[in-house]
């Protein structure tokens, strides 16, 4: 018989002598299991465990498994166990009987769940908007109660602090349009039309759009995360028990802030975009700044500016509303903050583009 292995056996004519030795712990269990798997006996077994030096519950569980399985085919007598081993054996004997149910989800089930989720989200969003307008109505009746300090705080955070990134993106977009356009226009010798291209597209479409996308990514997500975190720490529940309406304290200030800040940011974006176009036109087509500005006076009517600007408050409202709505949807685990923040950004960018399309249709219908 091998005397160093953790498990060994010897055929003693009338019975099999099975000996456990050394360590029966988490580290050694895989090796011991490999040996045990190969064994099967048809005679009585005497299992001597007196040489086991240390054990833990993994070792005992392994013992239980094979003790039970040997018992199926023959009689097993265990000798040399200690009081501790017996105690742990008794404790663990029944412990693995439970069955952990499987969480299986089929394709159809998932599809159904997603569809239902979409429907429920839509319903909840309508309910959210209803609640929001009720609160807004109250706020308008008693403007003294509006949290002006909060609004200013959010204008600073979501608006003022976004100036640099919005300015930079708009400048680059203006440059790109001028570069791309100049190649085509130069073919016709219509160089000066670059001013029309850059200024009108920037002011009517790209300024509002760039601003909205940056704000959705920057502030919409922040609103969701902030409100979601407050939901998890039960701060919102605490507010409700104190009689503070979260719509009043959390949602309205953010909505007001973006409705005010986004048009201002669009104006800034228009300026920087046109500046970018101006720089690129100068470099690419040799149109000087004064030529560019002269042409700008002729082609950029105020109506373009106003049509672009009208989109501002709408985009601001959409982004803030979706951000706050998704934040309030967060349930009580940390993972759901991430999921809802993603959903918030995706939804608000989609809605911004959808509204932009709607505006285009309306503008075309009215022929402006």
């Amino acid at each position: 018989m091998n005397t160093t292995e953790s498990i060994a056996y010897e055929d003693q004519k009338q019975y099999i002598e099975l000996v456990s030795r050394g360590e029966w712990t988490l580290e050694t269990v895989p090796q011991i299991e490999k040996v045990l798997q190969r064994l099967s006996f048809d005679k009585k077994i005497i299992w001597d465990v007196s040489e086991v030096k240390s054990f833990d519950s993994a070792g005992i569980l392994l013992f239980i498994e094979y003790y039970e399985s040997f018992k199926q085919s023959t009689t097993v007598e265990v000798i040399g166990y200690t009081k501790d081993q017996k105690e742990m054996y008794d404790l663990l004997k029944e412990s693995t009987k439970g069955v952990i149910p499987q969480r299986k989800e089929g394709f159809l089930e998932n599809l159904g769940k997603s569809a239902l989720q979409l429907y429920n989200d839509f319903k909840d969003f309508v309910a959210f908007l209803g609640q929001l307008f009720v609160t807004l109505f109250h706020a308008v009746l008693k403007p003294k109660n509006i949290r002006f300090k909060e609004i200013v705080y959010h204008i600073n955070h979501s608006g003022f602090n976004a100036l640099v990134i919005i300015g930079l993106t708009s400048f680059l977009v203006g440059m790109v349009i001028a570069y791309q356009g100049s190649v085509q226009l130069a073919k016709f010798g219509a160089d000066i039309f670059i001013v029309d291209t850059v200024s009108i597209s920037m002011v009517r479409e790209l300024g509002p759009m760039m601003t909205a996308i940056v704000i959705a990514g920057r502030s919409g997500s922040a609103y969701t995360a902030e409100i979601g975190a407050m939901k998890i720490t039960e701060e919102i529940a605490a507010m409700q028990t104190m009689g503070f309406n979260p719509y009043y304290f959390l949602v309205l200030p953010r909505i007001f802030a973006l409705v005010i800040a986004v048009p201002l940011l669009i104006f800034f974006s228009d300026l920087l975009g046109i500046l970018g176009g101006m720089v690129a036109s100068d470099m690419q087509l040799g149109i000087s700044f004064s030529q560019f500005i002269d042409r700008l006076y002729e082609v950029l009517e105020v109506k373009h500016y106003i049509l672009g600007m009208i989109k501002g408050p709408v985009f601001g409202f959409v982004i803030a509303a979706v951000g706050c709505f998704r934040g309030l949807q967060v349930s009580d685990n940390t993972e759901s903050i991430g999921l809802h923040t993603t959903a918030s950004v995706v939804n608000s960018i989609f809605l911004v583009i959808a509204f932009d399309a709607l505006f285009s249709v309306i503008y075309t219908e009215f022929d402006v």
Binding site: K53, T82, E87, T96, G98
Partner: protein, 270 residues
């Protein structure tokens, strides 16, 4: 034969002149204590006395500004990566609010270390998981649930199951019975004693639970005024004249509920 879980010496944790500062604020100003093998050691003190900070220093989440911390024979100051990883496998930690991974089911939470650190077969892993879930007194159906679907008490138990899965020699518990109902709390205490007796583990726990302190804690350290103001068995600690000890242990409530019984027991033994 007793279960042999040999650490080399009888002292499992030794803290020597630990100094901790957060900016200007001094949390510990020369804290020293030692935890012996196989005992249930309580860390007590009022809120803000730095109990959790001290525990975090023991489990290498924080580093003290000065002083020496030795855990299971390893000096924590300047410990190498490999040594630290090995040491981390020797202990289990139960955080105050469970700290279960929210993206995994309870069964997956318990399994994750087995999967990463051992090559135990899938069937055996399942067995160990079911056994641990059973051991902490949960129904096996809990294994399929996510932490967000459990109550606070169940989360604690599930987190204990996770802390035990690597068969640790040393178990850290941060307020294990807080947030449990009284019956659940006593069962938890009993479970800890059973585990200690059977597995020969050492338990370090932060607690405010008088029942635990009077029934299961073998030795304890009282943290107050940036120092350990009393250390030792309940009897030793009760001799301290420190205001916190006076207030915590010798008020009307504890006198009536615990101390009188302690006296009565003594008389019986004589």
């Amino acid at each position: 034969m007793r279960v042999q879980k040999i650490f080399g010496s009888a002292t499992v944790i030794e803290a020597k002149d630990i100094v901790t500062r957060f900016g200007e604020r001094i949390i510990h100003d020369g804290v020293s204590l030692h935890v012996d093998k196989n005992e249930i050691y309580g860390i007590l003190g009022e809120s803000g006395a730095g109990k959790s900070v001290l525990m975090k220093e023991m489990i290498m989440l924080l580093e003290p500004n000065a002083g020496e911390m030795t855990v299971l024979g390893h000096k924590l100051k300047g410990i190498g990566f490999k040594e630290a990883q090995d040491l981390r496998r020797e202990w289990g930690v139960l955080f105050q609010f469970g700290a279960l991974y929210s993206s995994m089911t309870i069964a997956e939470n318990i399994e994750v270390q087995l999967k990463e650190y051992t090559n135990i077969s899938k069937e055996m892993r399942d067995k160990l998981i079911r056994s641990k879930i059973d051991l902490v007194g949960l129904g096996s159906y809990v294994g399929a649930l996510y932490p967000s679907e459990l109550s606070g008490g169940m989360i604690k138990r599930a987190a204990l199951a996770r802390a035990l899965v690597m068969e640790p020699k040393l178990l850290f518990l941060d307020e294990p019975t807080s947030g449990l109902d009284p019956i659940g709390a006593r069962n938890f205490d009993k479970l800890i004693v059973d585990l200690r007796d059977m597995l020969g583990i050492t338990v370090v726990m932060i607690t405010h639970d008088l029942d635990s302190i009077f029934s299961i804690v073998d030795r304890m350290a009282i943290l107050a005024d940036k120092h350990v103001v009393a250390e030792g068995s309940l009897k030793n600690v009760l001799q301290s004249q420190h205001p916190f000890v006076e207030e915590f242990f010798k008020n009307e409530y504890t006198k009536h509920k615990y101390l009188d019984k302690l006296e009565a027991n003594k008389v019986e033994h004589v």
